[in-house]
Amino acid sequence: MDTVMTKNADVTAPAKRKKPIYVGRIIIYAILIVYTLWLLAPFAVIIVTSFTTTKEYMGATSYIWWPEQFSLEGYVKLFSDDPYIYYVGIPTLLNGMLNTMWITLVPLCSGLLQSLLVAYCYSKYDFPCKNTLFMITVTLMFVPLGAFGFVGYMFYQNIGWTEGYASWLPLVIPGLFASAGTVFFLRPYLDGIGKEIIEAAEIDGMGFWQIFFAIVIPLSKPALIAQFIFGFVGGYNNYAGALVYLDTADPSMWTLQIAMNKLIAYLSESDKEYNFNCATALMAMVPLIVVYLFCQRFFIEGITFGGGKE
């Protein structure tokens, strides 16, 4: 937008117009910097607190902006004060992280590959009732079923999937299969690949599965990455689902979000261990933020994939 304005200004009155643009730029930068500070300030607050000792907060009457001495006390407590560590074997938060990883990754990978397979069938093959079936799939996708997240519990309770280790199943099994939404998202992408490549491969004697694994999967990498990032961020941060379905009586089954919340609730009630609270919240957020900072290009491209095209 700016270049257009500059160009136009150059034609009419080059000398006069320069200054306002300069001022405008400063204002834009000022707003963006203020917004950056607004987003980062809360992190700064909890980072500082996570390094402040409990002792220093004992006599405090207000927030401590800068501790007299930076200490790792809050982080050490993740090991030493963890009330469930003897039961779980490793720090509860770490165990939660591992649980979250497999609960998220196993269904995500399986579901994505299956959805791609279904999209591949729709896109490149003709079969009985194709259009009717696709219409059904699309219709299913558009029903906003988010409101039933909690009452779905009845179904899983009655098939015995809410006690003990079986309570992992409602979080894992539904995601293992292809989902209507992902199929709907992937199909236009596969449509864009072009039938010639598939036909050429068929002439070369490649079968359905060979084409799928050797051609379709590599070619649809950008779309898969986009869906993967959505699914991964969603799974990593999933709280409500785990809260309802997981049998929380067993600390070794907690996911990251549950473990974080339980630890903080347990310790902060009695001891006012602010550094522990802040360290726990940070330890739960930082891994994903680090992954994001290293792969931010994939995140931003993935999130806008398809959506920005309009």
Partner: protein
């Protein structure tokens, strides 16, 4: 779930093509299907069958349970109870109160969209370092709303919180009996802090794709900055705006994570002072999961579903109208 709608137009076009294919394929009436085509036929049933099992059954059960009474959610003890659940829900003060808080918090989504739009327009104004800013602005999206709520809870805490330290006062933000609405504003703030991240990235991608020649044409017609924004930029990003509106309405009506942390259930059973932190989804959780009264929670879920569905329906219709005009 968010990505599902944004490819709508593209897939709509694809569907058209497929329709064309089928039309061409029909004439040689009795077509002999090859085994691989039958295999495809089988494969495409996966999403439909898994939907029926993992979404259809739970929803159907919750529908039936609305009209029944059960012992500890055991389906075998189901008994018809003359719409008592439904009557009770609509006479329940807490139910109506939870809607008030929910709609109140849902308006945060509009504020969110406005902030996202403003920031993305600034990011798009060809300044140096706009990528750096974008990377920072997206961070809240990847943080869990629970961790963020914990973070803000510490910031709002009464004795040692940053906000009270800056103000030099001892204001009860989260637990004030005289001013319960403060709690809702705190939740509001955490939403407005976190939610624009997604919109900023989406808007920025859309702004990039607005045809630059339109701006030049507008400039030739003598349009100033505001006129360009109003007549070129906004129509150019209409599709994304309505998509984001749809996504944020659905999310906005389902607020749960943040309120459970900032307004934990007290020993009296209320969420926050004067029950102000109770959103519809929170109430479903308290009734269904904590009180084990799933029949009652089902009724509330269905009301929430219908409201979400109606609002999304109107937004989708507006969106289709808007895209048809182009």
């Amino acid at each position: 779930m968010r990505t599902e709608n944004d490819v709508k137009t593209a897939a709509g076009a694809a569907e058209w093509d497929a329709g064309g294919d089928a039309a061409r394929a029909i004439p040689p009436k009795k077509k002999k299907w090859k085994p691989v085509q039958w295999m495809c036929f089988g494969i495409v049933f996966i999403p439909i069958v898994s939907f029926i099992i993992f979404s259809g059954f739970p929803v159907a059960i919750s529908f039936i349970s609305m009209f029944t009474e059960m012992d500890n959610n055991d389906l075998t003890t189901m008994e018809w109870n003359q719409f008592r659940n439904i009557v009770e829900v609509f006479h329940d003060d807490r139910f109506w109160k939870s809607w008030r808080t929910t709609f109140w918090l849902a308006t945060a989504q509009v504020v969110t969209l406005l902030i996202a739009l403003a920031i993305s327009v600034l990011l798009n104004s060809k300044i140096k370092g706009s990528n750096f800013f974008q990377v920072v602005f997206f961070i809240p999206y990847i943080c869990s709303s629970v961790a963020i709520a914990i973070m803000w809870k510490w910031i709002f805490s009464t004795d040692l919180g940053v906000i009270n330290t800056i103000l030099g006062k001892n204001i009860e933000w989260l637990n004030s009996v005289e001013h319960p609405s403060r709690l809702v504003w705190c939740v509001y703030l955490t939403i407005v802090w976190q939610a624009p991240a997604y919109g900023i990235v989406m808007f920025k991608a859309a702004l990039k794709n607005v045809n630059p020649s339109l701006y030049e044409a507008a400039a030739l017609d003598g349009a100033n900055g505001w006129a360009k924004f109003w007549y070129v930029t906004l129509p150019g990003i209409k599709g994304v705006t309505l998509f984001l509106l749809l996504a944020s309405i659905t999310n906005g009506l389902a607020v749960f994570d943040a309120v459970t942390i900032l307004a934990p259930v007290q020993w009296t059973g209320v969420a926050g002072p004067d029950d102000i932190g109770l959103t519809v989804n929170y109430y479903i959780y308290l009734k269904g999961v904590q009180n084990r009264d799933m029949e009652y929670a089902s009724v509330i879920s269905w009301v929430l579903f219908v409201v979400t569905f109606l609002i999304s329906f109107f937004v989708i219709r507006a969106r289709n109208k808007a895209t048809a005009e182009d």
